[in-house]
């Protein structure tokens, strides 16, 4: 609903685009007795199609569900002829769309069922108008407008639901791609796994800088063991991040440099000597500790030191 930005203005635009006019509304209201007379039959006809095919039948596992959705279908049908097509009507229609999306009903079944629905209504209309084809045609055209109006809303809810899921996933991926870990007091570690493109490099720099200031870290260890290829671009990004860290008053240690990465970097002529580098993360952590004035000792060593 929020994504669709539905307000009075948008509602007006939508109604106008489907060419729904006051005349249509009047005609729909006048068809109310027709709807009440035939709603049960039309619903039954619709579910005959749905229950006749395995794929669609699977969505209605038991009789109770079936009875419930048929009842909903009837009230949906009568809603078409209620005469008021305001934001409340739209909200109700969006709920229908959301319900279909939530149970995972694909749009093809939803739209396919609508086709049968229109055919059923058409047949009943011809009976209703007893050979007055012109009137039957007008009525059908009006009903088609409101049904297409409804379908558009339903499809929009499908799309907006997918968009929301996608946005959520993207945010999750973004967060996962820069997990800053506190190794020790004032020492942070960022393991970089996977390809580093420009966008990610910016994000890495931002996260690193913000985390350093927030946690008042002295040392940031960047472990690039998980980066498959280090080319000039990636090296440049890393150097820039290092320089920015320096501006804040902290230091960077680059670890996880494999033989092949070391070879490429030197062959590419990237000047990387100003950065502390270590091949293994454990060595990087030791170096970081020494920068903050600490070191790892074995228990025995400590006991001996204490005894002396």
């Amino acid at each position: 609903m929020d994504i669709l930005k539905l307000d009075d203005q948008e509602l007006k635009r939508r109604l106008a685009f489907f060419e729904l006019t006051d005349e249509d509304f009047k005609r729909l209201t006048a068809l109310k007795p027709f709807a009440e007379r035939w709603t049960n039959e039309i619903t039954e006809g619709l579910y005959e199609l749905i229950m006749g095919q395995q794929e669609s039948r699977a969505f209605f596992p038991d009789q109770a569900t079936l009875a419930r959705v048929k009842k909903l279908q009837n009230s949906y049908f009568l809603g078409l002829f209620s005469g008021t097509y305001d934001l409340n009507y739209v909200r109700d229609r969006l709920r229908v769309g959301t319900a279909h999306e939530r149970i995972g009903m694909p749009p093809k079944l939803y739209l396919g069922a609508y086709r049968r629905y229109l055919a059923l209504i058409h047949a009943r209309l011809q009976d209703h108008f007893k050979g007055n084809d012109a009137e039957a045609f007008k009525a059908l055209s009006t009903i088609r407008k409101i049904i297409f109006f409804d379908m558009a809303l339903a499809i929009d809810t499908y799309i907006s639901a997918y968009l929301e899921t996608m946005t959520r996933h993207q945010a999750a991926i973004r967060e996962l791609s820069t997990p800053v870990i506190k190794v020790h007091d004032r020492i942070l570690l960022l393991p970089i796994v996977g390809t580093v493109d420009t966008q990610r490099a910016h994000q890495i720099m931002e996260t690193v800088l913000v985390q350093i200031v927030e946690q008042q870290a002295k040392v940031m260890i960047l472990d690039i063991a998980g980066v498959p290829v280090v080319d000039t671009k990636v090296a440049d990004h890393i150097l820039k991040t290092t320089a920015a860290v320096q501006l804040l008053g902290a230091q960077t240690i680059l670890t996880g440099i494999s033989a092949s990465v070391a070879r490429t970097v030197v062959q590419l002529g990237v000047e990387i000597t100003r950065v502390h580098t270590r091949s293994k993360l454990s060595e990087g952590i030791e170096l970081a500790l020494s920068i903050v004035g600490k070191k790892i000792t074995s228990n025995r060593e400590r006991a001996e030191g204490g005894g002396a």
């Binding site: 800088l209 320089a243 920015a244 501006l247």
Partner: protein, 128 residues
């Protein structure tokens, strides 16, 4: 000018300048003058510039700050820039401006520590 001069405080052998206002070109110029004159007057051997209040630093200001640091060094005072914001650091680096030769520290406290550590080095000018 709506801005007064940037106050420069003396803490032992160190000068401390906290920049609280947006740095326009004219302010930077007079700041540089004030700092150098103050170093000359007091004979301080350290200068700490706190820029934690600055949300943006353009290339001119960055260059002026770095130059001030170099000039101070010629007069025997080591400069430490403290409290740079992440966004400022990122922008400077992206502009290709690395402020080489200037020391930096995360906070004023760290800047003072760094300076204390330095002044204990060789030439023995240790004050208490």
């Amino acid at each position: 000018m709506p801005y007064g001069p940037i106050p420069i405080l003396k803490l032992g052998s160190t000068l401390l300048a906290t920049i609280q206002i947006e740095l326009h070109d004219t302010v930077v110029d007079s700041f540089q003058n004030d700092v150098l004159e103050e170093i000359e007057r007091t004979g301080s051997n350290g200068l700490i510039i706190d820029i934690s209040a600055l949300e943006t630093v353009d290339s001119y200001v960055a260059r002026m700050l770095a130059n001030t640091g170099k000039m101070a060094k010629l007069m025997g005072a080591e400069t430490v820039i403290v409290g740079m914001r992440p966004a400022v650091a990122a922008t400077l680096v992206r502009m290709g401006y690395f402020m080489e030769g200037i020391s930096t520290a995360l906070s004023l406290e760290e800047g003072l520590e760094l300076h204390a550590r330095r002044s204990k080095l060789p030439d023995g000018m240790v004050d208490s």
